[in-house]
Symmetry: C2
Subunit: 211 residues, 2 copies
């Protein structure tokens, strides 16, 4: 923003609250997060959340932002690469979005958490983000697998890819205990993405040729 210095104090606290909420929601989930902790990190009063967002629910809705996920799909659709390369690119970008702690896309990490544990915002998340994502990935796999893939095979292959990606996020606490020196740096993330890409392309190729 070039007009950063024009922002009112009110806008600044709003943004501090959103930033803090992204941290706390992504770390503790919606249920586990407390507005007091969010306000403490934002150096704001406890009442600020209700004043600016109408409540904890309103803050969650404001915090969710599907733009990075949309941008990922848009960028992917406009490349000139072949479908198989586009799948590997998608997996690469998606895994980065889910795991990379530096490159803050906490919004998607929050979303990933809420998928398993319904919150007031789950319907919105599914409608605006998850459904389009599944459709996008389905279309991409259709290009790769051709017409020999049944609708059920296509749908389940989408699940297989998303399941592999989400595993690293959802099971992070477990993987850390199994392998304490695990770190999601760029090298590790790229290796994970490459693995899922190869593994899945082989799986799809097999399904497409089998019948």
């Amino acid at each position: 923003m070039t007009e950063a210095e024009l922002k009112s104090a009110s806008e600044l606290t709003r943004e501090r609250l959103i930033a803090a909420a992204r941290e706390v929601f992504s770390q503790n989930g919606f249920q586990g997060a407390t507005v007091r902790e969010i306000c403490r990190r934002a150096e704001a009063n406890v009442a600020a959340v209700n004043y600016h967002f109408g409540g904890k629910d309103g803050l969650l809705a404001e915090v969710l932002n599907f733009a990075p996920l949309k941008a990922l799909q848009a960028a992917n659709a406009t490349t000139s690469a072949c479908p198989r390369e586009r799948l590997q690119l998608f997996i690469h970008d998606f895994i980065h979005m889910l795991l990379d702690e530096q490159h803050a896309s906490l919004q998607c990490q929050i979303m990933a958490r809420e998928l398993a544990d319904p919150t007031p915002a789950l319907d919105q998340i599914v409608r605006d983000a998850v459904a389009p994502l599944h459709e996008f990935l389905g279309n991409l796999l259709r290009e790769i697998g051709g017409k020999s893939l049944s609708e059920a095979q296509l749908r389940r292959s989408v699940y297989s890819i998303l399941g592999q990606c989400m595993f690293y996020r959802n099971s992070h606490p477990v993987l850390l205990r199994l392998n304490p020196k695990l770190r999601y740096d760029h090298r590790e993330i790229n290796a994970i993405a490459a693995h899922i890409g190869e593994f899945s392309l082989a799986g799809i190729a097999h399904l497409a040729q089998a019948d």
Copy 2:
């Protein structure tokens, strides 16, 4: 139990509490579950949980039971089937354990929930159930993939399979919204297991031959 009529009233309330706790924990997670709701379903007093189990944590530890998961691995290891068939059998049994709502193995569904959201019992779960499971699956994949699979490839292939299986449980709320008529009956569960088996065997075969 043949000595059911011999059980004291105290033992009966203990068992009612455990059964109720399995339901509530598997539906709402450990955080979301309340001892009052558990006691209400068990038709017991609120203080019963503390009297019999020392607290909510103690009840969780008592509720967790890894016997079904161990039995699955033991049965799998003693078949005379080839490694590829054993993998498909494992996936079939594992998916059934995670998804089948009739055949009550709520213990494993509770465990699956807690993997993403650390609770006081996570260390115990990882040590006694998850680590042996990963090792078991790793050994099985080693038999299938041979020596050409690197340790990293082997480990990530284990993650790929578990990730695909867990996806159907962790993303159940989402999948229900995407496809309201989805039901995890035996036909659907068998189809899911067959898909993951084929998909994964192709992926492993590709990794094993690629280098």
